[in-house]
């Protein structure tokens, strides 16, 4: 397995994770993009060593690189491309609505969390009539 590729994958996933845990949606998009790159490179490295372009009329099966991860990677690239564009549109819309692109805390979750500050769940009578 290609150590260089593995290290690159680790770097991309690290930075990608760092970015998706940010507050600003545009940074999250950058992070998603990097995670996508990391995933594609991981697929390639898992498929075995590099080789000739997998063209049946130019190279023999033994010489060529594994075509399967390449086919899978193509799909992955296109899907993460679609995701990135959609997130960009969302960020733009968010900006139009609120003037920034920050990911707010979930209001419903905040409301649930506030319950913890109440002293007692509800009055419990000693002996119900």
């Amino acid at each position: 397995m290609n150590a260089t590729l593995v290290v690159t994958v680790a770097g991309l996933v690290s930075v990608g994770t760092y970015l998706v845990t940010a507050r600003s949606l545009s940074r999250i998009i950058l992070g998603f993009s990097m995670l996508g790159h990391g995933a594609v490179l991981a697929l390639l490295s898992a498929g075995g060593p590099a080789g000739e372009t997998p063209l049946a009329d130019r190279s023999s099966p033994e010489e060529m690189s594994n075509p399967l991860p390449q086919a899978l990677s193509l799909t992955a690239i296109v899907i993460s491309f679609g995701l990135t564009l959609f997130l960009l549109a969302l960020a733009r819309r968010q900006n139009a609505l609120s003037g920034d692109d920050l990911v707010e805390d979930d209001l419903e979750d905040r409301r649930v969390a506030l319950l913890a500050n109440e002293e007692s769940p509800e009055p419990v009578s000693e002996d119900a009539a």
């Binding site: 260089t4 545009s26 063209l55 009329d57 920034d100």
Partner: protein, 738 residues
């Protein structure tokens, strides 16, 4: 509370009539089955792969209990039709829940496997929670329902553990033929099952939920808290008892819990002033007697216990119905306020007097015969227990007679000039209680028939228990002497305490249980507030952290020998460029700069593709990267040039978790390579591409041919994205809210 001047609701009558039908049908069927000494077996496969079957076997014991559960259920439905007034809310909900409870209870007594038993056991807990908390706008009803549920649910967990040990030890989950359990496991299982029974049957110290459960509408008390749910624990002790006959702790624990409940319940009944509470505490006491008799594990005691189950179902349900009728018609059930009801409610008084006499063990009633059998069983029991158990039963019975008289005098006595005003009679409330009272009388008259039915049921638990009989007139035996003494002393005690305005005993431990429940709820909210706080970044950090931990085992599977440095020396240069571009993109403050950094990174990745002999990927990557950079510029053009400060929080945690995630992915990759389970099917792919797909570009053939459907899906995704982007863009353009 129900206003006393409204008439019963006609719609309610229809609903309850409908709900009574299946129960009445089951009663008739079970009676026929019991009379014919027949049995029925059927099962429903639930999860075939787990051999999970809902199995039912209705032998004499189950049939007898079905007659009680379904029969009283049908009567309670009729009673409910009178209980609820025209303007009462949720009548349909009530009828359906009550019917669901009745059917769950029937499932419980029919159960033929311990798992079926457990399933219906829990179902009765849940439906009972809904019924106790029926008046869900009242805080005390909610609290009582929660308390009842927490205690019975905890008992359910104990039961599950006990049953698992039981099945593990005996090797069978059938309840028909439970072999004796031996060894150290037996003691643990016995304690767990007995605790479960004690929680359900409201035995000391788990009885604290039952008095509170009186917040439920009276039909619920008449059904659940006299004849059915509280009997579930007793039934459990009865049917699992044969497995524990040789386990000392089973018997001792049962005697201790049951004995304590007999006495403490009766004392509670003597001190309360609320008619319903008197009956509830009396029920704790009566259930204690049943548990005591069943844990003796002797034939005579088993027979006596079943007789008391039958007698108790009849008289206690009738008494609850009377209290409910008094409550509805007089507007209170406080014995300090009621006055002169014996004259204004003569039928209710007659019912209460006869059923109460049955409870106190006065002839000529069913309760008398059952109590005689219990005393006989105590006298005949073996070892040191004979004296102790008999004394326990006698003292319990004296107290029972006393609180019965106090109840009757309190509810119906008094001759002052200003008797309590009562509203018009409601026949649906009167008739079921009358019917049950007739049964208490008729059971005495037809002692032979009752004996036949009870011995058939007792015979399924213990063949030797089938020899006994209920006697109308036992003769001047020791037991009869004790019985007579009990009634006399009890009556005297009852008269003394009748109008005593003593303060009700604090339900010992109720406060503790409530505090415990509150603590659980508060802790749950604190935990929820911590884990469900609403912050997306923190959620992600947690998810990634857990994923990192999940990868931990892979560390041991890593074989570094599978690694090689690079395919060409260009790769490390490109790799380094990619990682540096990523870091720069992450750290740069300017949005445009970040977009360009991402573009550069993409080009580096495309270069890596090139070294892998993947021109298709290179082309796609370059195209995509160009569009994405353009998209960033268009999409984020309206945003501020710099990223907001908020991104700087939690920096250290984020960096640590991010690096851990990256390393984990790398470890997982290397570990998967270290354990190969095959070689890439290059040859096959190439042959397939050329011969079947008719193309030389293997990658393209895979995409368009072998994975054609996937590719179609991919195109659909892109189309949906395009529509979404256009729609979002248009929305942003037309109405700017900010």
């Amino acid at each position: 509370m129900i206003a006393s001047d409204t008439t019963p609701s006609p719609a309610g009558r229809a609903v309850f009539g409908l709900a009574a039908l299946p129960l009445a049908g089951l009663t008739v069927w079970a009676t026929a089955l019991l009379a014919g000494d027949g049995s029925a077996t059927f099962s429903v496969t639930w999860v075939a792969d787990l051999d999970l079957v809902i199995a039912f076997h209705i032998g004499p014991m189950a049939a007898l209990l079905t007659v009680i559960v379904a029969g009283i259920g049908a009567l309670v439905m009729v009673y409910s039709a009178g209980y609820f007034s025209k303007d009462a809310e949720g009548v349909v909900r009530f009828a359906v829940t009550l019917l669901a409870f009745g059917l769950a209870m029937i499932g419980l007594v029919w159960a033929d496997s311990v798992w079926t038993l457990f399933l219906f056991w829990e179902l009765t807990s849940i439906t009972s929670f809904l019924l106790v908390g029926f008046r869900n706008r009242r805080a005390e009803a909610r609290a009582a329902a929660r308390r009842a549920f927490m205690i019975t649910a905890a008992g359910g967990l104990a039961l599950l553990a006990g049953l698992v040990i039981l099945v593990d030890g005996t090797g069978t989950d059938s309840l028909q033929s439970l072999p004796q359990l031996e060894g150290s496991e037996a003691g643990i299982a016995a304690v767990l099952v007995m605790i479960a029974a004690a929680t359900k049957s409201a035995q000391v110290p788990f009885h604290v939920w039952l008095p509170g459960a009186m917040a439920a509408p009276t039909p619920v008390s008449a059904y659940l808290h006299s004849a059915t749910m509280v009997k579930a624990g007793v039934i459990l002790v009865a049917i699992t008892g044969p497995a524990f006959t040789d386990v000392a702790v089973w018997k001792n624990l049962g005697l201790a819990l049951g004995g304590a409940s007999m006495l403490w319940g009766a004392i509670g009944a003597l001190r309360h002033v609320d008619g319903k509470q008197i009956l509830a505490w009396g029920t704790v006491s009566q259930l204690g007697l049943m548990i005591v008799l069943l844990s003796l594990g002797e034939p005579k005691a088993t027979f006596a216990a079943l007789s008391i189950i039958v007698a108790h179902a009849a008289f206690k349900a009738a008494l609850f119905m009377v209290v409910g009728e008094v409550d509805v018609r007089a507007g209170t059930r406080d014995i300090r306020e009621l006055d002169g009801l014996a004259r204004s409610m003569p039928i209710a008084f007659a019912v209460a007097a006869v059923s109460g006499a049955s409870m106190a063990g006065v002839p000529p009633l069913l309760g008398f015969m059952a109590k005689e059998a219990a005393i006989e069983a105590g006298l005949k029991s073996k070892g040191f227990g004979a004296v102790a158990v008999t004394a326990l039963i006698v003292v319990g019975s004296v107290l029972t007679a006393a609180y019965t008289l106090r109840f009757l005098i309190g509810m119906f006595g008094g001759r002052s000039d200003t008797p309590t005003e009562v509203s018009a009679r409601r026949w649906p409330m009167t008739m079921p209680a009358v019917a049950l009272t007739v049964l208490s009388l008729g059971g005495y008259v037809a002692a032979g028939t009752v004996t036949t039915l009870v011995t058939r049921a007792a015979g399924t638990l213990d063949p030797a228990a089938a020899e006994f009989a209920l006697l109308r007139w036992p003769g001047f035996t020791v037991a009869f002497g004790l019985s007579a003494g009990i009634v006399v002393v009890g009556a005297a005690l009852g008269l003394v305490l009748a109008r005593e305005a003593s303060s009700p005993p604090a339900a010992i431990g109720a406060g503790l249980v409530d505090r415990g429940i509150d603590e659980v709820v508060v802790t749950a909210r604190r935990v929820t507030a911590q884990v469900q706080h609403g912050s997306l970044p923190v959620y992600l950090v947690v998810v990634m952290g857990v994923a990192t931990l999940a990868v931990a085992p892979f560390w041991f599977a890593v074989d570094l020998d599978v690694l090689y440095r690079w395919d060409t020396p260009v790769q490390p240069i490109l790799g380094l460029a990619v990682v540096v571009a990523a870091i720069v993109t992450a750290r740069i403050d300017s949005r445009l700069g970040a977009a360009l950094g991402l573009g550069g990174l993409g080009i580096g990745v495309a270069g890596l593709f090139a070294t892998y002999g993947a021109p298709d990927l290179v082309i796609t990557q370059l195209l995509v990267e160009t569009v994405v950079v353009v998209g960033f510029v268009i999409g984020l053009g309206h945003l501020t040039r710099r990223f907001p400060w908020a991104d700087r929080r939690w920096l250290v945690t984020r960096v640590v978790i991010s690096v851990a995630t990256g390393v984990s992915v790398a470890v997982a990759l290397v570990a998967s390579r270290s354990q190969p389970n095959g070689t890439p099917p290059r040859e096959a792919l190439v042959t397939e591409a050329v011969q079947t797909g008719g193309g030389n570009n293997v990658v393209n053939v895979i995409l368009t041919d072998a994975r054609g459907l996937d590719t179609l899906g991919e195109i659909v995704v892109l189309a949906v994205v395009a529509i979404g982007v256009v729609a979002l863009g248009a929305a942003g353009g037309r109405r700017r809210i900010a």
